[in-house]
């Protein structure tokens, strides 16, 4: 059940038998249903989560407006430490499952054990974090591109199956109105 995380790590760095054994013994699976709010669940569990399958939306509510910050697909990481960063006037970060999701949960106590007992853990965690930073930098660049069509095109090149994302959330993420997104999509399909 935790094989997807092990496979993902192995693709980046050789893993010791000890590493694999610790993951198999101490990590566990969490399944959430589509539309479920994951915020409290993740906040209350002092852990790192690997999304094995599904899609999660990260958002905040600001002055009655729902602002989508990120879409997390397979092989993405989340951490309960995420909630320690305060965004805007104490507005809370929220997480919503857009599909049925399966998460591999790794308690922070397990992460500490891995770092202490398995020398390759430092590299593995660094690789995962670097991948996340790269995604954030891409988002950062994307949201600053002034042309709506260009933003949509670039998003499509980065996110392989945007049909999984409801239009209103995608519009919010791309910083445009739903009507603009519809127009941009139609124009893109025509071309």
């Amino acid at each position: 059940m935790v094989t997807p995380f092990i496979s993902y790590c192995k693709a980046n760095h050789p893993l010791s038998a000890k590493f694999i054994k610790l993951i198999r013994s101490d990590a566990y699976i969490l399944e959430v249903s589509r539309h479920e709010d994951l915020t409290q669940l993740l906040q209350d569990t002092d852990s790192t989560f690997f999304l094995s399958s599904g899609l999660i939306r990260k958002y905040i509510e600001h002055q009655g407006k729902d602002i989508t910050l990120d879409f997390l697909g397979e092989e993405n990481l989340l951490d309960s430490d995420l909630f320690k960063h305060h965004y805007l006037e104490g507005q809370q970060l929220r997480l919503q499952a857009l599909e049925d999701c399966r998460l591999i949960v790794m308690p922070h106590a397990l992460i500490k054990k891995l770092l202490h007992q398995c020398p390759e853990s430092g590299f593995v965690l660094k690789t995962l974090m670097m991948s996340k930073i790269y995604q954030l930098n891409q988002q950062s660049a994307l949201s600053r591109i002034p042309d709506a069509s260009a933003r949509y095109q670039i998003f499509c090149s980065l996110f392989s199956n945007n049909k999984r994302i409801p239009g209103k959330y995608l519009a919010s993420y791309l910083g445009m109105r739903p009507e603009t997104l519809s127009r941009v999509k139609a124009s893109s399909e025509l071309n």
Partner: protein, 210 residues
């Protein structure tokens, strides 16, 4: 980008005899003499005039830079437009972290927006330290967390729904840049036109004088 030490054996004379990077590392963890020696030997000061490129997609960047004095911005090109995605100034690190670990191309440019004095930190040295010293491994992870928080903030600020809110957030997290970075770069960073930024600043100034 092929840089070299222009200052010879006296490279640290103006820095108290040691690389300033050592103090940065020590803020996370004590270091051993071997690590300090490697840092002293392999890092070196570099100077860039205003408007010079520290890195570009044409020349694969092999360094991170510790900015001692000055400011730089990272930008991408959208058509003919420069889109500023980050800004760094004194005592901050600048550079594309992605090709620290992978030999990959980057579409990012890094340009000085003031004259810059920086310490060039070779990727090869960072990799060596990370692979051979658990202390450096720990420091590297802590620095990566800082990068992560910075990247999260930059991604977040651009998504705030109004230009006014983005500027308000900028004042909270980047106010130290306000009086030294040209407004055109701040406007680009905040995903607004220069005219919009000027209007917001004028309105804010009027409120403050009342």
């Amino acid at each position: 980008m092929n840089l070299k030490n222009e200052f010879g054996d006296n490279k640290w004379d103006n820095f108290g005899g040691i690389s300033p990077l050592i103090a940065v590392f020590k803020s996370f963890h004590t270091l051993n003499p071997e690590i300090e020696q490697i840092i002293n030997e392999q890092t070196f000061p570099v100077a860039f005039a205003k408007g010079k490129h520290l890195a570009s997609p044409l020349k694969r960047n092999r360094y991170i830079f510790l900015i001692i004095k000055g400011a730089v911005h990272g930008y991408i090109k959208a058509g003919n437009q420069k889109i500023t995605t980050w800004i760094a100034a004194d005592n901050e690190l600048a550079g594309s972290i992605r090709n620290l670990w992978k030999e990959v191309d980057s579409d990012e440019y890094i340009e000085s927006i003031e004259p810059v004095l920086a310490i060039a930190v070779p990727h090869s040295m960072s990799r060596y330290l990370y692979e051979h010293f658990s202390i450096a491994n720990y420091v590297g992870r802590k620095m990566t967390e800082i990068y992560y928080q910075g990247a999260s903030e930059r991604a977040f600020i651009a998504r705030l729904p109004t230009a006014a809110k983005r500027y308000e957030r900028f004042l909270v997290t980047y106010h130290h840049l306000l009086d030294r970075v040209p407004l055109k770069y701040i406007a680009s960073f905040l995903a607004m036109r220069l005219e919009t930024l000027s209007r917001i600043r004028s309105a804010a100034a009027k409120i403050n004088t009342k």
